[in-house]
């Protein structure tokens, strides 16, 4: 009986968590404008999504494109900046190291809305024209600390002598960095990159305050505006279903790889 309750609890919990997603997935296969009405099975919304005949015209697709591009640039730059910063912090000592690590943590704890408003003020004050550039800069700002945080443990695990060993064997500092440090830190950098990528895609508050008035939309700001205009564009339903499936596949692949890595290191 006890076992049954425990199991039932788990399933109810999972059900509640995933019901909205399943709900959207089901209703992505019907043409009704209003969510919840079933007007028969159809893949018309998927066709619209990919042919650009969506309710919002090409605006939805361009929002998706913006989101991905901003996320890609922001997470690439953050990964580079964050890794270099982590190496620097790792080589610091004592109090200054603790201080910089503390400062690194603040942007992560700081609520997005405050980060967004302060960046907005920062850009407005010197009359910096807002748009693509400011959004990317803002995203780099909040992504970099996550990269620092995921690279630091790799540095701590690393044999401190291997950088010196590279220099000793004739590598210039830059060669030692690319040929020895980067390969060692790669797992941390990949984690940092993926974290940054998802954080960037997910972001609403910071983007909203830094995108300016040129009509730049990412997925999150597009949906926000769209919902206020009265009802969501129906093509969002297949889009969300696809994004969810992609994330699911990525997660599964990631887990399998991790599992194999663990198994490999135990076999040694």
């Amino acid at each position: 009986m006890k076992k049954f309750i425990a199991k039932a609890y788990l399933w109810i919990l999972l059900g509640l968590l995933y019901a909205p997603l399943v709900f959207i997935a089901i209703f992505s296969f019907t043409e009704a404008r209003v969510l919840g009405n079933w007007t028969g099975f159809s893949t018309q919304l998927y066709t619209n999504l990919f042919t650009g005949n969506a309710g919002g015209g090409s605006a939805l697709l361009s929002a998706v494109r913006n989101t991905l591009l901003i996320a890609l640039i922001a997470s690439l730059v953050s990964t580079l900046l964050g890794t270099v910063a982590a190496v620097g912090i790792h080589n610091m000592k004592g109090r200054s190291k603790a201080a910089v690590q503390f400062v690194n943590n603040i942007p992560m704890i700081n609520p997005d809305i405050i980060t967004g408003v302060s960046l907005f003020l920062l850009f407005v004050f010197p009359h910096f024209s807002q748009g693509y550039v400011t959004v990317v800069l803002a995203h780099i700002t909040f992504c970099t600390p996550y990269v620092v945080l995921s690279v630091m443990p790799k540095l701590a695990q690393m044999n401190p002598n291997i950088y010196e060993a590279a220099l000793d064997l004739g590598a210039k500092p830059s060669q030692a960095f690319w040929k020895v440090l980067v390969p060692e830190l790669r797992p941390g950098m990949v984690t940092g990159f993926l974290l940054s990528f998802t954080m960037s895609i997910d972001d609403f508050a910071v983007t909203f305050f830094t995108r300016g008035t040129i009509g730049l939309d990412t997925l999150s700001t597009y949906i926000y505006t769209d919902a206020r205009k009265g009802g969501l564009t129906p093509e969002l339903r297949p889009l969300m279903t696809i994004i969810f499936l992609l994330v699911l596949v990525l997660l599964v692949v990631f887990n399998i790889r991790q599992h194999r890595a663990v198994a490999k290191s135990q076999a040694k």
Binding site: I162, L167, G170, A171, Q175
Partner: protein, 461 residues
């Protein structure tokens, strides 16, 4: 012959955060030599090696390689290679690529690289391992790869930073022999850092014994073992009986309240000295004519090859003796020492001497603290003075706060009937103490000195 020196180190000094780690180091290394920097942890030997490698810049002094100063040259431009303490292999590369790393940076042709890597793999007996990941190798195998990775570049000097410290005893012994063989085959100069005196004696052509940032002695293993220049070297290298003695005249020395013939000359007459007798150099005899002194066996332990015995001499001293034959505890034995086996050393000091300043008539400031002294005639407040304190007049207390100054036991020697301790005070002063009490290295102590034990005299007169 300056040409004979591959490395010449001149007046090298280095401080970290105000602490002098290396203090005016001077020595040279001959081409093709196997030289070992030996000393306890914290003596500065690794810092010295890292300066030669180029990872640390010296504060003062020069490092000459074949006559040219290399102190300002970065490590990647020095024709030297290092074998690191924990191997420091590149985990993302396999054995072959680890060894080829330096050659690829030199942009050598691929077939030349392959030839040299294969030759090195053969030299360290790792021929079948070239495709293995370095993580899958044992400690000893990783060390071989590290040695091959350094030697494949044909460096002018190979630097080895405690390369065998992480291996177990058996493996360490095997690797020692192999290192010596590699050194012979390659003919390259080796600079080896270790705290293991046995390893140093086994491997080296020359040993540099270091302590507290200074060179204590440079010599061949045999010189260092048989003729240590001071108590530190005698105590650090091998087992030894270190005893207070008195040079009576040339070739005649007194210790443990007996007189012995020895081979040392030129100390003067009736001069206090320290005497070292190795435990294997005290012999048992049944012949009363040969007997120089008698003793009673106090303990006897089997050590594998020999027995280690402690005896109490008829004059009240404890000596350690090593012999192949055991004597039962309680046995009265007759002993003698060959004149050759007695090593007489100058006493580094006979009492504590501090610079001080009179605070008032009955107080003097020494070692950064105020000590009470007897009323002094002819010394006024503010006078600069010399304070002398005999070793046996310093009191050590269990609790740091009970002493006038606080410190810790930094170094200790057993001298047959008492301990000679070096106390390092919290303010960085050394004070030497003779005591019968048993202390351990690292014990925290309070230091007190009775007023009548402080002898003061005016400075600069």
């Amino acid at each position: 012959m300056a040409n004979d020196y591959i490395i010449d180190i001149q007046h090298l000094s280095k401080s970290f955060g105000g602490v002098k780690v290396l203090d005016d180091i001077n020595f040279y290394i001959r081409r093709g030599e196997f030289i070992t920097l030996l000393g306890p942890s914290g003596c500065g030997k690794t810092t010295l090696l890292r300066q030669i490698a180029g990872f640390i810049a010296p504060d003062e002094g020069k490092i000459l390689l074949e006559g040219k100063d290399i102190s300002g040259i970065p490590p990647y431009e020095r024709p030297l290679n290092t074998v690191f303490q924990r191997y420091a292999l590149f985990p993302h590369l396999d054995v072959y690529d680890n060894i080829a790393f330096g050659l690829k940076l030199q942009k050598l042709p691929a077939d030349e690289i392959e030839k040299r890597v294969k030759r090195m793999l053969k030299m360290v007996s790792m021929t079948d391992y070239e495709d293995r990941s370095v993580d899958s190798l044992s400690g000893g195998q990783q060390q071989r790869v590290a040695i091959a990775r350094a030697l494949v570049n044909y460096p002018k000097v190979l630097l080895l930073d405690e390369p065998l410290a992480a291996l177990d005893l058996k493996m360490r012994k095997d690797m020692q022999l192999e290192l010596k063989e590699i050194h012979r085959k390659m003919g390259i100069t080796f600079i080896y850092v270790t705290h293991d005196q046995e390893e140093a004696l086994t491997l080296s052509d020359t040993i540099v014994v270091m302590s507290e940032g200074k060179i204590q002695q440079i010599g061949t293993p045999i010189d260092i073992y048989n003729e240590p220049v001071n108590c530190f070297v005698a105590d650090f290298i091998g087992e030894s009986n270190i005893l207070k003695g008195r040079m009576i005249r040339d070739r005649r020395v007194a210790f443990i309240k007996h007189e012995f013939d020895c081979v040392d000359e030129g100390f003067g007459e009736d001069v206090p000295v320290d005497v070292v007798v190795r435990p294997e150099d005290i012999y048992f005899t049944k012949d009363p004519a040969k007997c120089q002194f008698k003793a009673k066996v106090n303990s006897c332990i089997f050590k594998g090859v020999h027995y280690e015995m402690w005896v109490d001499t008829d004059s009240g001293y404890e000596l350690m003796i090593q012999d192949y034959d055991p004597y039962e505890v309680g046995t009265e034995v007759m002993l003698y020492i060959d004149p050759d086996d007695i090593q007489v050393m100058h006493k580094e000091r006979t009492r504590n001497v501090f610079d001080g300043k009179m605070v008032d008539e009955t107080h003097v400031e020494i070692m950064g603290a105020e000590f009470e002294c007897l009323p002094q005639e002819g010394l006024a407040e503010g006078d600069e003075v010399l304070a002398e304190i005999r070793f046996e007049d310093v009191d050590l207390l269990d609790h740091q706060e009970d002493g006038v100054v606080a410190g810790e036991v930094h170094f200790l020697l057993y001298k047959g009937d008492h301990y000679h301790l070096t106390i390092l005070t919290d303010d960085g002063y050394h004070i030497w103490v003779d005591t019968n009490d048993i202390w351990d290295k690292g014990d925290l102590v309070g230091v007190n000195i009775a007023p009548k034990a402080i002898k003061l005299s005016k400075r600069n007169d």
